[in-house]
Subunit: 158 residues, 2 copies
Amino acid sequence: MMQLPVYHVTIEPEWIDFNGHVRDAYYGLAASYAVDGLMDHLGLDAAYRESSHCTLYTLEMHIHFRHEVKASDELKILTSILDVDRKRIHAGFTFACSRLAEPAATADMMLLHVHQGQKPASAALPDAVIEKLNAVKLSPDARDALGPLSRKIELKRR
Amino acid sequence: MMQLPVYHVTIEPEWIDFNGHVRDAYYGLAASYAVDGLMDHLGLDAAYRESSHCTLYTLEMHIHFRHEVKASDELKILTSILDVDRKRIHAGFTFACSRLAEPAATADMMLLHVHQGQKPASAALPDAVIEKLNAVKLSPDARDALGPLSRKIELKRR
């Protein structure tokens, strides 16, 4: 199976908050940068965006924070393709921290292919991109192994 | 009903990405700053954190992106308390953009009260804080009016 690029996160000093760890939102920023890498890998790169006026917009993002990440940690993001249709990509992210046996976090995003004209409108992904995505799309078993991923956030009384 | 503080977002130039709008993750950063304001408002401020060694950790974050936000937009975040128990706060966020009739985005987070010792451990919130939270907690109707909020992210075939 074709391998997706691994994103090596640079933890900036300003990412550390008053709790002494990486602030929640910067996990999202790192995943957002991982999507930039994914776009380049798929051929949805700057040249494509300029010639086609098409790009990806994020519709939804969910992050599960499992462990603190510290300034001194080495952090990388493994990206998975969970699902794809004509216009949308459901991508998963596993945050692997050198210090920890289990993921520091998991995340998933729904991405929409958009044509940016007068008014942005959803547009079909190029066939070649859909082919690449289907070639790396996880099997149901591999998908389950990533964990529960997103869900309705709620307090369940115990 | 006691009013929660409104967070006025400062859109930094580096928040604008190659799509010409605020990058997805910076909606999360703005909401994270809104939580800092909520903590101050509730008395979970720097003095409290220093004396108690307690703080809030984010367990989950979900963002629904509905409209683009541009560099020139005025953006503010309205924070709601959706639910609360002894240790956890379920907070909702509505991103109000001056240019738009409907929210630019909605988000929700599950926050956990944590004692930061050798090893961080969940801890009961102070009674006074729980009282404040219950005083502003949304009614079921007001909660429904915020929209569907978080959910399992998935491609549904049509």
